[in-house]
């Protein structure tokens, strides 16, 4: 449900101070050994490197395509080829370019966002957008199928089957292949048991990843996202033509936000939480209540729920197995955005494999996968950290949320927010504007908290 609240541009430089703690520091020591190791890895004779990608979402599709193009023999295992994953389906503008997506898979172009505070102050963000800029809304079944199709035409073998488990190489022979067991859906009622031997595995099988389980990758904390697809009358739908809404407040979610996103011919109304999962139905009712006037007369056509990872798994690489996308836990805090990061991590991991195997001619090693991790953390850690800080500062209480919405009314904030969301780059802001913003934000926070103290004294 990517949205655009990575707003507080003043915080943007903050991550640089965290670099000291960031993973890359460990790495300088080990890097030389990796390179030596990769070069000394045995050359494969008579066959290219075989890599299996488990899961055919954006991460799997992107990984498989890159692998196949790079000369690796690629197998992509997906259990349901027409799977419509419950997902907000928002993608940033840069994804369209970077992944060369055709424009017709984008159902809607959102150019306006409304943020609504607990006391119902509504702020329109997006006035600073240039005419060609928008947030794309896609249907996951369309996007996923498209990316898989591209992987397939690049030479990857797409297998419709359910991955069951894999046998790791025995400790005494670490370069032995991995044996994957899966249930091939070949038209028979229960499918056929099959197995497949590969040299490396990329786990792109989402939050319930079985690949993660088989390498003992550990668990992550997750949020539950609940969403209802509601078909609303045409007159009401016109309002949501190119507009998405975000509701914040303790009634809607104690630690996330409620949303109304336009889909192809209906809206998706939902909310999420980490801390109070048992109350999700209550939050959903509250979200519907807050949007009531605008969705009145609507009919629920589907109800769905899904886990959203809160942070990466403790292990993302083990041997020649790597995790990408949701399986690894690459979803941002605050906005809950994951599609772009999934596709990007899939591609980055695959690139590391192609490079390490010199185009599929050599065996890969754990070091090659570590290279992907190192690059990933270096590139995206600042983004994740900023969003984590934003979530902690602005989603913690109603007064903070009021201040957040007030802050978003500022044009400078909107511009920085959209730029960082749409292009995923960190553009340094104007120091004077940053300072002004910091002062205004503190002002908003102080006022809202002062009111809160006053509220505590009153009994109604």
């Amino acid at each position: 449900m990517a949205t655009i609240d990575q707003a507080f541009a003043g915080l943007r430089r903050l991550p640089s101070s965290h670099h000291r703690h960031s993973p890359k520091s460990h790495h300088h020591l080990r890097r030389p050994t990796h390179i030596v190791a990769a070069r000394s890895s045995p050359k494969l004779s008579g066959r290219p490197l075989r890599v299996a990608v488990i899961g055919g979402g954006p991460a799997g599709g992107a990984a498989a395509e890159t692998l196949a193009k790079g000369g690796v023999e690629t197998f992509l295992i997906e259990r349901k080829l027409d799977n419509a994953k419950p997902c907000g389906g928002a993608i940033p503008l840069c994804m369209v370019g970077e992944f060369d997506l055709p424009l017709d898979i984008i159902d809607r172009r959102v150019t306006k966002m409304k943020m609504i505070s607990p006391s119902n102050v509504a702020v329109d963000i997006g006035q600073t957008l240039k005419p060609h800029e928008y947030i794309g809304m896609v249907r996951r079944e369309v996007l996923d199928a498209y990316l898989r199709e591209r992987a397939s035409s690049a030479g990857a073998t797409v297998i419709n089957g359910l991955f069951l488990k894999m046998d790791l190489p025995p400790p005494q022979d670490p370069s032995a292949p991995y044996t994957l067991h899966y249930n091939l859906y070949d038209g028979s009622a229960s499918g056929t048991k099959q197995s497949l031997s590969v040299d490396a595995v990329i786990g792109a099988d989402g939050a319930n990843s079985r690949v993660a389980k088989s390498i003992d990758a550990g668990d992550y904390e997750y949020a539950i996202a609940f969403q209802e697809r509601i078909k609303i009358p045409k007159s009401k739908m016109a309002y949501y033509e190119n507009l998405a809404e975000m509701y914040v407040g303790d009634d809607v979610s104690p630690d996330f936000y409620g949303w109304v996103f336009p889909k192809c011919d209906h809206v998706a109304v939902g909310t999420g939480t980490v801390t109070h999962k048992g109350d999700i139905k209550k939050f959903q009712a509250a979200t519907r209540n807050r949007a009531k006037e605008k969705i009145e007369g609507g009919r629920i056509i589907r109800v769905e729920a899904h886990p959203i990872p809160e942070h990466p798994r403790p292990r993302r690489v083990a041997g020649r197995v790597a995790l990408v996308g949701d399986a690894a836990g690459y979803v941002t805090k605050c906005s809950g955005e994951g599609i772009y990061f999934a596709a990007k991590s899939g591609r980055m991991c695959a690139e590391a494999v192609v490079e390490g195997s010199e185009g599929g001619r050599r065996m890969v090693e754990e070091g090659d996968f570590r290279g992907y991790l190192e690059k990933w953390d270096k590139t995206y850690w600042p983004t994740y950290k900023v969003l984590d800080v934003l979530q902690k500062v602005f989603y913690r209480s109603n007064p903070a949320r009021e201040a957040f919405v007030e802050m978003c009314a500022d044009e400078y904030v909107q511009k920085m927010t959209f730029d960082s969301y749409l292009y995923k780059t960190v553009v340094p802001g104007n120091p004077l504007e940053d300072l002004k913003l910091a002062v205004n934000t503190i002002g908003s926070l102080v006022r809202a908290n002062a009111l809160k103290r006053e509220m505590d004294k009153i009994t109604l």
Partner: protein, 241 residues
């Protein structure tokens, strides 16, 4: 904990059989739920039970849906949400003309009124409306009236405390080192002490503040640790390779 809510036992058996048996805690987290219409009706019933007190209006909606039980599960029909009402709340904002006292706006009363409204909204979340938007902005209340109201009473306490701490520090330094008050002012060490005292008085106003600060620090570094887990793993396993 919430699995019961999400996958009611009456899910069609085909669905449950196609769902693998995970044992991680993530198993709560469902795979996509393709609910049939029958289940759609059942799900909101539970919502009614859970959200009873909080969203009265939503309950009405749901009940209506249950009564109809056919395709016409319409949302929001016939439910009239309770709206906040106050004669001084006009057109989505406080009518400042009604707050005039002795020729000028009584900002204290505006703060009181807004606090009441927000308190009321906590128990009665209102639907947002495009026809009747909320336009009140707390920044129209001038800064001095916030200071007057919220900082001054506390400032008294803080000033008093700072003076006490300062006096006794000066006394101890004098008695231990023999450096008089006037000489202390020129001393770098003593200036630092003064700075620490002021900062301490500002940050630690209550005993709980110490805990709060400690927790805040842990909270800010928690996410860093979660990300670093992968790399700690590598360090632990590095002797192996």
């Amino acid at each position: 904990m919430s699995m019961a809510l999400f996958s009611p036992p009456h899910l069609p058996s085909t669905l449950s059989s196609s769902r693998p048996n995970y044992s991680s805690p993530l198993k709560l987290s469902l795979l996509p739920l393709h609910l049939s219409k029958r289940n759609l009706v059942l799900l909101p019933t539970k919502a009614v039970n859970v959200g009873e007190e909080v969203t009265n209006s939503a309950v009405k909606v749901e009940e209506k849906k249950l009564d109809e039980k056919d395709e016409k599960e319409e949302l929001g029909v016939g439910s009239e949400g309770v709206k906040f009402g106050d004669p001084r709340w006009v057109g989505g904002t406080w009518d400042l003309k009604q707050f005039v006292k002795g020729g000028s706006t009584d900002w204290d009363a505006v703060i009181d009124a807004e606090a009441r409204r927000r308190k009321w909204l906590i128990d009665n979340p209102e639907s947002s409306s495009n026809d009747d938007p909320v336009v009140f902005d707390t920044s129209i209340i001038p800064w001095w009236s916030w200071v007057k109201r919220f900082h001054l009473p506390e400032a008294e306490l803080l000033n008093g405390r700072a003076a006490m701490v300062g006096f006794f520090m000066a006394y101890f330094v004098d008695s231990l080192t023999g450096v008089g008050l006037v000489d202390q002012m020129g001393n770098f060490f003593c200036k630092t002490l003064l700075f620490v005292a002021v900062l301490g008085v500002l940050l630690i106003r209550k005993n709980e503040d110490i805990d709060t600060l400690k927790k805040l620090f842990e909270e800010t570094t928690f996410y860093d640790k979660q990300w670093q887990a992968t790399w700690q793993d590598e360090n632990a396993s590095s002797p192996k390779d």
